[in-house]
């Protein structure tokens, strides 16, 4: 059945509507998880708050498992899932720039908009920086065009590189993610700060 848009189950316009609703939902979840706090995001680098790691890796393993199960039951054709192509140098360069911006500003692009939505001024400045960056990148594109397009690898999958099935790779990812969460929670205790309180509640059943 899926992907809905490729198989013409929904129209292009309905697709945009779904994207809008999902986007709002994404922003809401970010804000609800405290991602609009730059201290929480920066905490990832100092080790006193690993929520960023936990939320994003949970999303990754839930998404991976969900897609594979939907495919298993014939509800989605994975051949039609868009996989962002890899330009190795761009990916590394972009990663470095974003990482520096992340630790300096305390936001990543998505969370900065989330924070602007609740009225944070530092986030507004950060968004201003994003637009300056976009302007410089676009205007100066001929200067770094070669670097930008270098080392094109197509859309490789880790499972293919490792020569395993997607299922086995996902199991490995799940185990690695849970291991990282465990380490991250140890780190949260080890690097805890007196002026910062983790607002994570214990789930009670």
């Amino acid at each position: 059945m899926g992907p809905l848009i490729v198989n013409e189950i929904i129209s292009e316009n309905a697709n945009m509507l779904f994207a809008f609703v999902i986007g709002i939902g994404f922003g809401f979840i970010l804000e609800a998880n405290g991602f609009s706090s730059s201290r929480r995001l920066a905490g990832m680098f100092y080790g006193y708050d690993a929520t960023v790691l936990k939320v994003f890796f949970t999303a990754a393993i839930v998404g991976a498992l969900g897609l594979l199960f939907l495919s298993l039951f014939g509800q989605i054709d994975l051949n039609y899932i868009y996989i962002n192509p890899t330009y190795l140098y761009s990916a590394i360069g972009g990663g470095v720039i974003m990482g520096v911006g992340f630790i300096l500003g305390g936001y990543c692009p998505g969370t900065s908009f989330s924070a602007v939505a609740i009225g944070k001024l530092d986030a507004l400045a950060y968004v201003g920086g994003i637009f300056i960056g976009i302007f410089l990148f676009t205007e100066g594109f001929p200067l770094w065009e070669e670097f930008f397009n270098a080392k094109y690898l197509g859309s490789p999958l880790m499972s293919d590189v490792l020569g395993t099935s997607r299922g086995v790779f996902t199991l490995l990812l799940v185990i690695v993610a849970l291991g990282m969460f465990w380490v991250a929670e140890k780190a949260e205790k080890r690097f805890a700060r007196d002026d910062y309180k983790l607002n994570q509640k214990e789930l009670k059943f």
Binding site: V6, I61, V62, L65, L72, G74, D77, G167, V174, F205
Partner: protein, 206 residues
């Protein structure tokens, strides 16, 4: 209970299941409506009777003729070495290995081209390869291969060659040409077929 423990109890079993089951490789919707329309417009699904006749005579093992008419019609007349898969049964699992395969060249035929085209569209939509339609169907086959119309005197050379080839093919395949000509020209059938072989390479290029 800690959130991490809860998460682990959910995702580890799911991960184990997904690692153990075989990957789903079924192709679901291989062609979009636009892509199918493009193929229909360009008519790539058609095989010409002359080419099919040639393959039959050469006993080409890759050719698989599939009669999509009813069993009755198939009993009355069918092309050599054809099998009968009535259009209504085309999705029957029994026939799946015949129509979803990568070795043979399947040619659907019906009286006209309608039913064969429908069979082709269904299989194409499923993403199956190597399925074709006999251009003109049995009716056109009877006209061109079994009872070729003699070209008028003074026709271009190609017309005459084509006629000879068709006549030879018709004779080899037991068409009407044999009945009318065996008495007068017993040795008739052979030369045209030999000639045809040469011509084939050129035809292929077109």
């Amino acid at each position: 209970m800690k959130a991490l423990t809860i998460l682990a109890t959910i995702v580890i079993p799911l991960g184990l299941i997904i690692a153990a089951v075989p990957e789903n490789t079924t192709k679901q919707y291989k062609l979009t409506a636009e892509e199918l329309l493009e193929e229909v417009k360009s008519g790539t699904q058609f095989m010409y009777p002359d080419d099919v006749a040639d393959m039959i005579i050469q006993k080409d093992p890759t050719l698989q003729l599939i009669d999509v008419r009813s069993a009755d019609e198939y009993e009355k007349f069918n092309l050599p070495n054809s099998i009968n898969i009535p259009l209504v049964d085309v999705l029957n699992e029994e026939w799946e290995e015949y129509i979803d395969q990568e070795v043979k060249l399947n040619v659907f035929y019906s009286n006209g081209t309608n039913d064969a085209n429908q069979a082709w569209m269904i299989t194409r939509q499923l993403g199956y390869e190597n399925n074709y339609v006999l251009q003109g169907g049995v009716n056109y086959w009877a006209e061109t291969i079994m009872n070729p119309e003699a070209p008028k005197t003074g026709s271009p050379n190609e017309e005459i060659i084509k006629y000879n080839l068709r006549k030879g093919a018709g004779m080899a395949l037991g068409g009407a040409a044999i009945e009318t000509q065996t008495t007068t020209k017993a040795a008739g059938p052979k030369p045209p077929i030999a000639k045809r072989k040469k011509k084939k390479s050129v035809q292929g290029g077109c």
